[in-house]
């Protein structure tokens, strides 16, 4: 297999020629209404937003910082503008069940008018009804009524008193009632004197007293009925007066709101309630109690007077209360009170008839919020209950407002992992969120995309009120977008990163006093971000340059190779070389992964070592037995190793250890390998190459060094300018390898050797030397085994 040619400067970077951009600055470009390259999400949103059936809520999946929120909100705002405005809702007092405020639905914008009408009515009640009670007519009638009633009430008593007086018997008032006693000339006869009366006289008096007592008893016992009768008549009079007073205003309101039967019913209930409480309005000095008048007001829960189209609400703190609303309390002298005017709507109320955007992670981290959200979506109505009540922590009497029907399209924003976890673990999730809108991480980079991407940048620039970007600055940004996507044929769709770079570039342009953002400002923004995140990287490189961490960048060594690893710290990542070493001796066909043994290796790395172990066995041992006891280690690695990107390097170093053939230390190797020796793509190639380049430069002049990487990774290369410069000057080479033999030949300078028909490798080839050394291991093992068997046999016969 021929050794591949090193990559040229053009192959390691996909530049953006400014000729492809047909503008001078971004001011020449129009805004982009739809983001480019997000057709899948757009179609999903179009479908989800238009779909009327239940459960077709949306989950917008995408990485954090992809601009999901802005995108979804912009899309929904445009979509919702074409939809009808949803109705207003208000809570009013429930005169039958005071703890269950009634909900009334009103056409959009009429809620405010209804509230105002009720306020005006309450105000009118406050003044008009007391005025009615103070009117001459009322006072005269009540006076007549009271006179008549008093007369009826007392007449009986007076009659008895008269009768008693006629019979010379006094009716005397006691603190608790009445008593009768014989009298003479207005004075009660002395009891001593009474004793002298004849029996006849006494009997006459006593029988009369007894008769009077009975009459009095009957009369008094009728008083409650008389009083009840009076109360009823007074109440009837009050009702009549209030009816007359209310007739006008309530009649007007009934006519005005005749198109809403619920409102008409409520107004009738108000009239009945006012009539029932007519007496309370009689206090002309203090007026009716505020609490009573408050019952005739409306609590406008949802006001869509200023809403255009369907509402699009973003709930930034989606906890239970904010979603479903809450019942507030007022503290009064250490006690908490509430009424229907303290019911507060939640974002579900406001979004009813429209769209509610929620961050999935936030709603999941708020107690009961996710369950409450699902409950509303499943039941189609909002029931306002406090969190304490839901948890059963309180059982005090509170309000239970009438549930309000809700029709809301919920749009959850979250990362993919959340979506898949919810799909797996929450049985309701897929019933409720049937529309999956998956955000593209990257966009295709082709000739058509340049204009769209430039317009997208121009839109961002204008939205952020930044200086316009010059064409070359946009070109640089597009190149960097490819680097961020780690692909020459892709551009990153990460909204946040691009916006941050733009903002920073604008800042640097501002410091320079420039009117436009130039390529140098974009580059400065990129470099500054790089520099700010470079402390750990520089400390790590320093360790290598000082020889604390041993990395050789020249010469040849047996059983030692430079692997490449990538470290991710926060938002930044960097690559660096790691020395991989191997040992080999006869054994039982084992390759010991020291990292795994030390529990520093991850499962993928272990799998890669097993693969290379089986590769060696199948390639070199053929049908014979592989006698090998080998070990692999990442030297001076203390933080754990994961991934299979070092399997090419590990294979080469292991084969070097077996055959005792040195490997060139001027190369670093990355790439994974399958059991047939084919080299497969890995991630982070740009960072790995640049990391090794930096180490080589710090070790001295960059000369003859290079990196072996999978050929399939070539299109992922977007290397730094200084690396490209070294490649152009052929001081640094990058070899795309597709087979392990190519890597072997580049690292050893020897022919790898293809097996002949009999399975043998050519003479003096690298593979032949590996096979021969393994054969010697096998012989050595066999001798060892024979000797061991002989010892065992002799020992056994001896014992026999």
């Amino acid at each position: 297999m021929p050794v591949p040619a090193p990559l040229t400067e053009d192959q390691v970077y996909h530049g953006c020629p400014s000729e492809k951009l047909d503008f001078i600055t971004t001011d020449d470009l129009e805004d982009l209404e739809q983001p480019c390259g997000q057709d899948r999400v757009l179609r999903a949103l179009e479908f989800g937003a238009s779909m009327q059936a239940g459960g077709f809520n949306l989950f917008v999946l995408g990485p954090s910082g992809a601009g999901k929120h802005e995108f979804v909100e912009r899309f929904l705002s445009q979509h919702a503008a074409r939809e009808p405005v949803p109705p207003d809702w208000c809570h009013v007092y429930n005169f039958r069940y005071s703890d269950r405020p009634t909900a009334i639905r009103l056409p959009a914008g009429e809620g405010q008018q209804f509230k105002k009408d009720l306020n005006d009515l309450a105000e009118e009640l406050r003044t008009a009804i007391p005025a009615t009670f103070e009117s001459e007519e009322y006072q005269a009638r009540i006076q007549e009524l009271q006179e008549e009633t008093a007369k009826r009430q007392h007449q009986g008593l007076f009659d008895i008193q008269d009768e008693a007086n006629r019979n010379n018997i006094a009716m005397i008032t006691t603190p608790a009632g009445f008593t009768f006693a014989p009298m003479r000339k207005g004075e009660v006869i002395d009891p001593e004197e009474y004793k002298n009366f004849s029996d006849e006289e006494k009997q006459l008096i006593e029988s009369k007293v007894e008769e009077l007592q009975k009459k009095l008893q009957q009369t008094i016992q009728q008083i409650p009925r008389l009083r009840k009768d009076v109360r009823a008549r007074i109440h009837a009079l009050n009702e009549e007066m209030v009816q007359l007073t209310l007739g006008g205003p309530i009649g007007e309101l009934r006519e005005k709101w005749s198109h809403l039967p619920d409102v008409v019913d409520y107004l009738d209930a108000v009239r009945e309630d006012v009539v029932e409480h007519a007496e309370v309005f009689q206090d002309s000095e203090n007026g009716p109690p505020v609490g009573l008048l408050a019952r005739y007001r409306a609590n406008l829960l949802v006001d869509n007077a200023d809403t255009v189209g369907a509402p699009v609400i973003y709930e930034d703190l989606p906890n239970h209360q904010h979603l479903t609303g809450q019942i507030e309390h007022r503290a009064r002298q250490g006690n908490l009170y509430t009424d229907f005017t303290l019911i507060r709507g939640g974002s579900m109320h406001r979004a009813s008839g429209g769209y509610l955007i929620i961050d999935a992670r936030r709603v999941l981290t708020q107690p009961m919020a996710w369950e409450s959200l699902k409950r509303i979506l499943l039941s189609g109505e909002i029931r306002i209950e406090s969190l304490e009540r839901l948890y059963g922590l309180v059982s005090t009497v509170s309000l239970q407002p009438e549930p309000i029907p809700v029709s809301v399209k919920v749009v959850l924003l979250g990362d993919r992992m959340l979506y898949y976890l919810l799909s797996h673990f929450d049985p309701d999730f897929l019933d409720l969120f049937k529309v999956e809108a998956d955000f593209e991480d990257d966009l295709d980079r082709n000739d058509e995309c340049y204009e769209l991407y430039s317009r997208m940048i121009a839109t961002m620039v204008r939205a952020q009120k930044m200086r316009p970007l010059e064409r070359v600055a946009v070109a640089r940004l597009i190149e960097h977008a490819s680097r961020l996507a780690a692909d020459q044929r892709k551009l990153t769709a990460h909204d946040r990163v691009l916006r941050d770079i733009l903002t920073e570039a604008d800042h640097w342009a501002g410091l320079c006093g420039a009117d436009t953002v130039e390529a140098s400002h974009v580059q400065q923004a990129i470099d500054e971000r790089e520099y700010r995140a470079s402390r750990v990287r520089e400390r790590s490189r320093e360790q290598i340059s000082r020889g604390v961490v041993m990395i050789a960048t020249e010469g040849e060594e047996v059983a030692q190779v430079n692997g490449l690893s990538v470290l991710r710290l926060g938002a930044s990542m960097f690559g660096q070389p790691t020395r991989i070493t191997a040992t080999a001796r006869p054994g039982k066909g084992q390759v010991v992964d020291i990292e795994r043994e030390a529990k520093l290796g991850g499962p993928i790395h272990s799998k890669a070592v097993m693969i290379l172990s089986r590769f060696i066995a199948s390639r070199y041992a053929g049908e014979g037995e592989l006698s090998l006891s080998a070990s692999l280690a990442f030297e001076q690695s203390y933080g754990g190793v994961e991934g299979d990107s070092a399997s090419v390097a590990e294979t080469c170093v292991l084969l070097s250890a077996i055959a005792r053939i040195p490997l060139k230390q001027s190369f670093a190797v990355t790439g994974s390998m399958n059991q047939h020796g084919e080299v497969q793509a890995v991630g982070g190639v740009n960072e790995k190459i640049e990391g090794f380049f930096d180490v080589c430069r710090e070790a001295g002049e960059v000369r003859e060094q290079g990196v072996l990487l999978p050929a399939s990774n070539v299109e992922h290369l977007m290397l730094r300018a200084d690396v490209r410069q070294a490649i152009a000057e052929q001081r640094f080479r990058i070899y795309p390898v597709s087979d392990i033999n190519q890597a072997i030949e580049l690292l050893t300078g020897l022919e790898a050797g293809e097996p002949a028909g009999n399975g043998e490798f050519p003479e003096n080839s690298f593979n032949r030397r590996v096979a021969e050394r393994l054969a010697r291991f096998a012989e050595a093992s066999k001798k060892q085994d024979d000797k061991g068997d002989a010892n065992n046999n002799s020992g056994g016969s001896g014992s026999d």
Binding site: Q143, H154, T173
Partner: protein
């Protein structure tokens, strides 16, 4: 210590000293029988005493007729609310009277404590009207509820009030059972009887001196009071033009009078017992119909 004796029973007293220098010439006598109305009258009396600095003399009379009525073997008491008839004996009545007297003493002490003035309580046995007349002097203000215990079954002008209405030597204030507004007007009824008018005006002057309420002069039918006299009355009352109004009564019918008083938002009515209103046959009906404090001058 001052001891007042009357009728047949000795009487208690409290630290009041009426002979001290600078003491007001008149006292406030308040009739107490333990009924709700009498306690309302006590509060009114205490307020007046607080404003004028007068001493308060509570009068509690154990009605002789009542005591005697309990002495008959057949005597029974019919409950004013329940109508239930129960035995009524002297022992129970004595105990009840003692209890009431104690309650009255506490109420008087409590009311006096609020305004800090001097007070005394007279407990006598006999006829209420006679005992009160024996205690009251021409300079004393007599304060009593419109009805005592008899107000419970609905009587609106009790026998004591009726009895004292014509015979009180000094001013008499009949208190009512409703909350009295402090913002209403003091209505003074005048007619063509100059002396009566003068006494009523003086009483009204005493009322508004402390309360600063506006005043309405209510002129009886046919009353012909020259404007300069009205001006003098206004000056005596010490009220401004805006707080002074004169109205003429269309008739002396109790309903008409009550209507005018409502229109005037009357908080108190002041009139002389010699005036035409009280000379009419329906005077008692009028007083019964007016549920507001009424000051009656001799």
């Amino acid at each position: 210590m001052r001891i007042i004796t009357a009728g047949a029973v000795a009487v208690t007293d409290t630290p009041a000293n009426h002979s001290g220098p600078g003491a007001p010439t008149g006292r406030v006598l308040v009739l107490l029988d333990g009924s709700r109305m009498s306690y309302a009258a006590l509060d009114a009396a205490a307020d007046i005493a607080a404003k004028t600095g007068a001493d308060v003399l509570g009068v509690f009379v154990e009605e002789l007729n009542l005591l005697r009525s309990a002495g008959f073997g057949f005597a029974r008491e019919v409950g004013s609310e329940s109508g239930v008839s129960r035995p009524f004996g002297p022992a129970e009545l004595e105990q009840r009277m003692q209890r009431l007297a104690e309650q009255v003493r506490c109420a008087l002490a409590g009311a006096a404590a609020r305004y800090g003035g001097r007070h005394a309580l007279s407990i006598t046995r006999g006829s209420v009207v006679d005992e009160v007349l024996a205690l009251a002097g021409p300079n004393d203000l007599l304060v009593l509820g419109r009805a005592g215990w008899s107000s419970a079954p609905g009587v609106r002008l009790g026998s004591t009030a009726k009895g004292l209405l014509r015979r009180s030597p000094g001013r008499m204030l009949l208190w009512c059972d409703r909350q009295v507004s402090s913002q209403g007007r003091v209505v003074v009824f005048l007619n063509d009887h100059d002396d009566a008018n003068r006494r009523a005006t003086m009483a009204a002057t005493d009322v508004v001196r402390h309360s600063h309420q506006p005043v309405t002069l209510l002129l009886g039918v046919g009353a012909d009071i020259p404007p300069d006299h009205l001006e003098l009355i206004k000056r005596d009352l010490g009220v401004s033009d805006s707080d002074f109004r004169v109205r003429t009564l269309p008739s002396t019918d109790p309903a008409a009078v009550a209507q005018v008083l409502r229109q005037e938002r009357a908080a108190q009515l002041v009139l002389s017992r010699d005036c035409t209103l009280l000379r009419e046959p329906g005077a008692e009906h009028l007083l019964a119909a007016l549920n507001l404090p009424v000051t009656i001058t001799p």
